[in-house]
């Protein structure tokens, strides 16, 4: 899964799937049919940046431990941004 990673933290495949699902549910990340370039605004990095900005985290566009930890927290299912 093309998710930019920040630090040496070893994310498992399952972690990355969770992160992608989180961004799809709350930040309108669209599925990416194989082989088709995404519009820049809909890349995983862009959505990670949106989420990091929303929660006041350091905005890197990469999945790091702090961002992933926040994704684990129990929360409301309504998206944070978008339609």
């Amino acid at each position: 899964i093309p998710i930019p990673l920040e630090d040496s933290h070893e994310f498992t495949e399952k972690d990355l799937q969770f992160a992608e699902r989180y961004l799809r549910t709350h930040y309108d990340l669209r599925p990416n049919p194989a082989g088709i370039m995404r519009k820049s605004g809909n890349t995983v990095a862009a959505k990670l940046r949106e989420m990091q900005a929303f929660f006041g985290l350091e905005v890197t566009g990469k999945l790091d431990e702090e961002t992933y930890e926040l994704m684990q927290k129990p929360r409301c299912g309504v998206p944070d941004v978008g339609e």
């Binding site: 929303f54 006041g56 129990p74 409301c76 299912g77 309504v78 944070d80």
Partner: protein
């Protein structure tokens, strides 16, 4: 606070709700009460009214479900997604769904149904998620205690922008937006390099000397390890540390970090072991002494020698005549001590050793 695209809202003030089914975690009357109380959070500050109906289609249909439950936005089992709701509109509009794979409760065990419902009903009325960590509409669940829920100011401003203010006057909930309310209790104040911190319950206001507006911040978002409702705080400019007191413990903060080996017990500073708490503390730069107020007495601590001065405690009333016999909070600025006692603030001149002005506690917020 944020709104849904096109600022969706109800075009009427009288709304209906219907509870379609129940969770087995709570008794029916507990569920009814939680939802009723959750609606009252919003009707208290707006002209909105909520009426429960027991049949037919209500504006806000409430139900418990698991995984895929009919709206193509499946829940995900225990934890994770707790509930969701739809913005105002026909059909699903306004409806609120709760994940019955969670353990719902009416206290801190499991997830508090009242708190989650109040949040979801904010969506039902047109509020989107807020970035303010202290707001009810912040997307992440935080248990905020069993009693005395107060709708945070961020949410009050958001919902009132949609529906206007409540018709009742003197709503106690406006107190936090330091409007004309006369009493804001401060439990501890201190100066940290550029800011004056006003600590109260689980928030603190950061007031920059050059700014008019204070910034409201959740205490635990800066210092997660600190308890809420700090008793007292002071800054020691010599060591560049801020000390915070709660009960018999004291924490030392270096910027936003808690110094190693803290918290310590206050008796290690020289207080008698039986002392239960400190009401207020202030460091007086010119004398290098820190004054501690507890009950009707106060102590003087020599920061350089790191010992309690002999001849203390003394009676507050004897040294600081006129400020009353207890101190809620105190801080020093430009040669004046500002004593807070209930709704009043006494400006005491260290030089002339007398009170020169009496102000309202929240006058610093231009109330």
């Amino acid at each position: 606070y944020n709104f849904f695209p096109r600022k969706l809202k109800w075009s009427k003030m009288n709304l209906t709700y219907r509870i379609m089914n129940y969770t087995s975690d709570l008794r029916r009357n507990e569920v009814d009460r939680a939802f009723k109380k959750a609606f009252k959070v919003w009707s208290d500050v707006t002209p909105l009214n909520f009426t429960r109906i027991r049949s037919g289609v209500a504006d806000i249909m409430i139900s418990f479900g698991t995984k895929e439950h009919g709206d193509f936005y499946p829940f995900d089992g225990p934890s994770g997604l707790l509930a969701h709701a739809f913005p105002p509109g026909p059909d699903y509009g306004g409806d609120a769904h709760f994940d019955d794979d969670e353990v719902w409760s009416d206290d801190s065990k499991g997830y508090n149904l009242f708190l989650v419902a109040a949040h979801e009903f904010g969506h039902s009325l047109g509020l989107e998620h807020s970035r303010d960590p202290g707001a009810l509409m912040f997307p992440i669940y935080t248990y905020t205690g069993k009693t005395g829920f107060v709708l945070p100011d961020d949410d009050v401003q958001g919902i009132q922008e949609l529906y206007g203010k409540s018709i009742t006057i003197n709503s106690p909930l406006t107190c936090f937006n330091y409007s004309t309310s006369k009493i804001l209790l401060f439990y501890a104040v201190t100066r940290n390099i550029k800011y004056v911190f006003f600590l109260s319950t689980r928030f603190f206001w950061r007031l920059h000397p050059q700014m008019v507006e204070a910034e409201l911040v959740l205490l635990k978002s800066f210092w997660p390890e600190l308890p809420n409702k700090i008793d007292a705080a002071y800054e020691n400019p010599i060591k560049d540390l801020v000390f915070m007191f709660k009960g018999k413990k004291v924490w030392a903060l270096n910027g936003y970090d808690i110094v190693e080996d803290f918290p310590k017990k206050i008796y290690e500073m020289g207080f008698p072991k039986e002392m239960k708490r400190i009401d207020a503390a202030v460091h007086v730069k010119d004398t290098g002494k820190t004054l501690f107020f507890t009950g009707n007495k106060y102590w003087s601590y020599d920061e350089e020698a790191e010992v309690m001065e002999a001849g203390y405690p003394r009676l507050i009333e004897e040294e600081f005549t006129g400020i009353g016999d207890k101190v809620d909070a105190v801080y020093e600025r430009n040669g004046y001590l500002y004593f807070f006692n209930g709704p009043l603030q006494f400006e005491y001149s260290i030089w002339s050793q007398r009170i020169v002005r009496v102000l309202h506690t929240n006058s610093l917020f231009w109330c």
